[in-house]
């Protein structure tokens, strides 16, 4: 069921992107990648004043998380795989919920968010392994 839902999600996403055009896809992809890698770089390159670096990262993370929440709120959720369709099919509920969760995690937006939030691990690594681990736990 998981592989079917992933395949279905991929087809829906691909068709949606085809409708919007290749230019939109390239533009959004480049913008997202630059933003994510830029945020990561701020964590990798040590700042002269760690307190300022921490504040900047905190602000950027708030923007990332807020942006992600706003996108979901404004678009009514991802909407690629609508649960109401699957509610009609008589599928075992736990298996369906697990499969939808896994399929839902395969989102390019989440991949960019994961890269951006990697900055907290890199930033923590400057203060030692323990701080990096705390950053890793925070990101997860």
């Amino acid at each position: 069921m998981v592989s079917l839902l992933i395949d279905m999600r991929r087809t829906i996403a691909r068709r949606g992107l085809e409708r919007r055009g290749a230019g939109w896809l390239v533009g959004a992809g480049v913008l997202g990648a630059v933003a994510a890698l830029g945020t990561l770089a701020l964590g990798v390159v040590p700042d002269a004043d760690p307190a300022v670096g921490a504040d900047v990262l905190a602000l950027l993370f708030a923007l990332w998380v807020g942006g992600r929440l706003a996108q979901s709120a404004l678009s009514g959720g991802d909407g690629t795989l609508r649960p109401e369709l699957f509610a009609l099919l008589g599928l075992p509920r736990r298996r369906l919920a697990r499969s939808l969760l896994i399929a839902g995690l395969l989102d390019p937006g989440l991949a960019l968010l994961a890269i951006a939030l990697g900055a907290v691990i890199a930033f923590g690594a400057h203060a030692g392994a323990a701080a990096a681990l705390v950053g890793l736990a925070g990101r997860c």
Binding site: L4, L5, G16, R82, L88, L89
Partner: protein, 271 residues
């Protein structure tokens, strides 16, 4: 259609256990939204092989009743059994839904798939073997005249085309009980005739069809049993001849729900 019967037991009456479970057994279903009672202790029984029509004015509670009957909306009270399987039981709910083919009103289909893609995914998710999914998808596309929409995304379909795709989704796994909410809404007369033919075929094959509709002429032509609903209650139910009496179903409906005339039209249009 012979061998069908419908009874409406009194609310609270003990449920008899029939030897052969009916296609759809609804006992004391109720639903409230805030202060509004959408459905009030409705009980209905639809026998196997019946073509059952549920009619009522806007806001009568038809969609709420059907949504509860197919497991999409949890009732405040009451039970629903499909061919003996309890729709709202955690143990048998999935089995009951597998026996059902449902076309809810306003179902949001995945906009960025073609009809063929959607039917293929739904068939495989339902556990049908791939060759059978391919075969049935081709037959449904042909029967419902969806061929010219095959390369078109559902997002670009008209409302009528989407209805037909939703009906194809409901029919794909060959359910024994079909529950269709407003299946003829937005369909052109030719498409409506095609759908009528398909539904007649389901009943002829010992399947059971339950529809809600405002198209009285179609209900009268298709259904052998009818229930009239208003204000969240079933006001009259029985065989078509019992419900309509000697007149037409439309006249009986107007009399049962107490229809009133527009009283000469709108005041600003009166001469």
């Amino acid at each position: 259609m012979t061998g069908t019967a419908l009874v409406e037991p009194a609310p609270g009456a003990p449920a008899a256990t029939p030897a052969v479970p009916p296609a759809l057994l609804i006992r004391g279903l109720s639903k409230r939204f805030g202060d509004t009672t959408a459905v009030a202790e409705v009980s209905l029984q639809v026998e196997r092989g019946a073509f059952f029509g549920l009619v009522g004015p806007n806001g009568a509670g038809k969609t709420t009743l059907l949504s509860m009957a197919v497991g999409l909306l949890r009732p405040d009270a009451g039970r629903v059994h499909v061919l003996g399987e309890d729709v709202w039981s955690t143990r048998t709910g999935a089995r009951a839904k597998q026996l059902l083919g449902v076309m809810p009103d306003g179902l949001a289909l995945p906009a960025h798939l073609t009809a063929r893609e959607l039917l293929t995914y739904v068939g495989l998710l339902r556990g049908l073997p791939e060759p059978r999914v391919r075969e049935r998808t081709a037959e449904l596309i042909d029967a419902l005249e969806l061929a010219h929409a095959e390369r078109t995304l559902i997002a670009d379909h008209s409302t009528g085309m989407r209805k037909k795709v939703a009906l194809a989704v409901a029919l794909l796994h060959g359910p024994r009980v079909l529950v269709l909410d407003e299946p003829f809404e937005a369909l052109d007369p030719v498409s409506a005739a095609v759908v009528c033919g398909i539904l007649d075929g389901v009943v002829a094959g010992r399947g059971t069809v339950v529809i809600s509709s405002h198209a009285m002429a179609l209900v009268e032509r298709l259904c052998d049993h009818v229930a009239v609903m208003a204000g969240g209650r079933v006001l009259r139910a029985g065989s078509l001849s019992q419900v309509r009496g000697s007149g037409t179903l439309e006249a009986a409906f107007a009399e049962i729900v107490g229809a009133r005339s527009a009283g000469g039209g709108l005041s600003w249009y009166r001469c």
